[in-house]
């Protein structure tokens, strides 16, 4: 579904991503793990169209999408939950969700999407009239995920969903990730919490200083001495 070939991302003259190859198959849940500054978020930003890659090629759903803007890609079913959640702070919860449905105009289906969002996160239903900026960090993460689902993604990119959240909330967010995966949405997940990410995913890539150093199925990675030592603190 997604094929990345020799992707490079640069800020000014500094290369954050140095020619990586990566694939995500239809229905797969894939993790991209690595330390802070390894280039994971830059990769995701290039895939979602927020950054133009400096070199390489991205194919999605049978067509090249390299350098296409985000507003175009989301119409083709490629959505992202950005790092730091990115809720619109002065829009209410309802308005944030409605922004997720911006590309759709079938009223009945949008109503069903709202219902699904509130079923998945009853907390959001309670707070629907509140400005998103007044929600707690965990609630904002729920809102960011619910909003991305309103886009009806076929490929969902998740950037650090556990960042800055309490352990209980992290569990809750990953339960949702699994629930969404069970619905058949393909996902690429960037995480610093390597253990949780690999437990949730089918396959994983390990990134270090802009290159991919390991790629395998998640179970193998979880038991690999290299990963255990570098990312699981053993």
């Amino acid at each position: 579904m997604l094929t990345v070939h020799k992707l490079e991302v640069a800020y000014g003259g500094i290369k954050a991503v140095k020619g990586i190859d990566l694939t995500v198959g239809r229905g797969e849940v894939v993790a991209l793990i690595g330390a802070n500054g390894a280039g994971k978020s830059s990769t995701l930003k290039a895939l979602s169209g927020l950054l133009k890659p400096s070199a390489g090629r991205i194919d999605y759903d049978g067509a090249e999408i390299t350098g296409k803007p985000a507003y175009h890609l989301v119409r083709r079913g490629l959505a992202m939950v950005p790092e730091g959640r990115g809720v619109f702070p002065r829009l209410t919860v309802v308005e944030n969700l409605a922004m997720g449905a911006y590309i759709h105009d079938d009223k009945a289906a949008i109503t069903r999407d709202f219902d699904r969002a509130y079923t998945l996160f009853p907390r959001l239903a309670e707070r629907r009239a509140q400005p998103a900026g007044t929600l707690s960090g965990g609630e904002q993460q729920m809102l960011a995920m619910a909003r991305a689902l309103m886009c009806r993604p076929r490929l969902l990119l998740l950037d650090e969903p556990s960042m800055g959240l309490a352990p209980l909330m992290v569990q809750k967010i990953f339960e949702t990730v699994r629930a969404v995966a069970a619905e058949g949405v393909t996902m690429l997940l960037v995480e610093q919490n390597a253990k949780l990410a690999l437990e949730t995913c089918d396959r994983g890539y390990v990134m270090e200083s802009g290159v991919i150093v390991l790629a395998d199925n998640a179970k193998t990675l979880l038991s690999s001495p290299q990963v255990r030592q570098a990312y699981l603190g053993e």
Binding site: L50, G86, V87, F88, L91, M99
Partner: protein, 307 residues
Amino acid sequence: MEIFAQQIVNGLVLGSIYALVALGYTMVYGILGLINFAHGDITMIGALVSLTVIQLLAAAGVPAPVILVLAGGSAVLVCAILGLSIERIAYRPLRRAPRLAPLITAIGVSILLQYSAALIWGKQYISLPEIIEPAQFTIFGAQLTSLQAAIFLLACTIMAGLLWFIKASRMGRAMRATEQNPDVAGLMGVNTNTVIAFTFVLGSAIGAIAGLMVVLYYGLGHYFMGFMLGLKAFTAAVLGGIGNVGGAVLGGLLLGIIESLAAGYIGDLTGGVLGSNYRDIFAFLVLVLVLVLRPSGLLGQPGGERA
């Protein structure tokens, strides 16, 4: 007491025009963080275009209501195209530049518009042909003309319509989302370039109507008229809290009232030393006071850079 009521009425009418212009400043600031110093001059172009249309049609003997609609329509059309072009040519290439670059560009565009207008219309004052004879009536002891009432009501209708549009429409929501986080708005499928261009078109079109109102209110137009009008509207936007649409409305009305009251009483207060032609002082006194005492404005959020 009669002077007071009269000045309040005058102030509300004048203030509603300031508010319309202030909306253009505040919408662009909200979405780009840019003070579009050319906005007053876009209003001037709207004023002069409508004056020319009125002159031509009045000479041809067209009935007044038709003249007014056509004058307003042409001003809106010209200003909308102008706003769109300015954004595209002057500001968009500087979207990622340091903040000072677009600000200086805005001043450049302002000067360009002023002297283009001087070339087209000349530097003399242009007066409005008599096409309407407003009826006079009295309200709370104050004199009001039907023209003033019409200006005020139209301005209020436009403002209410705009507030509703931003609050409730899909495009309005996209404008607010773009303002708060353009990258994420893009992830939601919003083409932020389109939204920004639309904001310029909307602000310029409203400015064009304000230009027509100024022409009808004062009966005069001039290539430099956008400068003072722009500064006052900017003051109104800052007073209300720049970036805040409701604040622009409030700031405009308040500034109009302050200015009118000051003009009405300044002669008495200074024993006749200063006349009502010193009214402009008060607008800038207000600007200084707001910047010193509450830089985020009446409805702005204190502390936030976006305020």
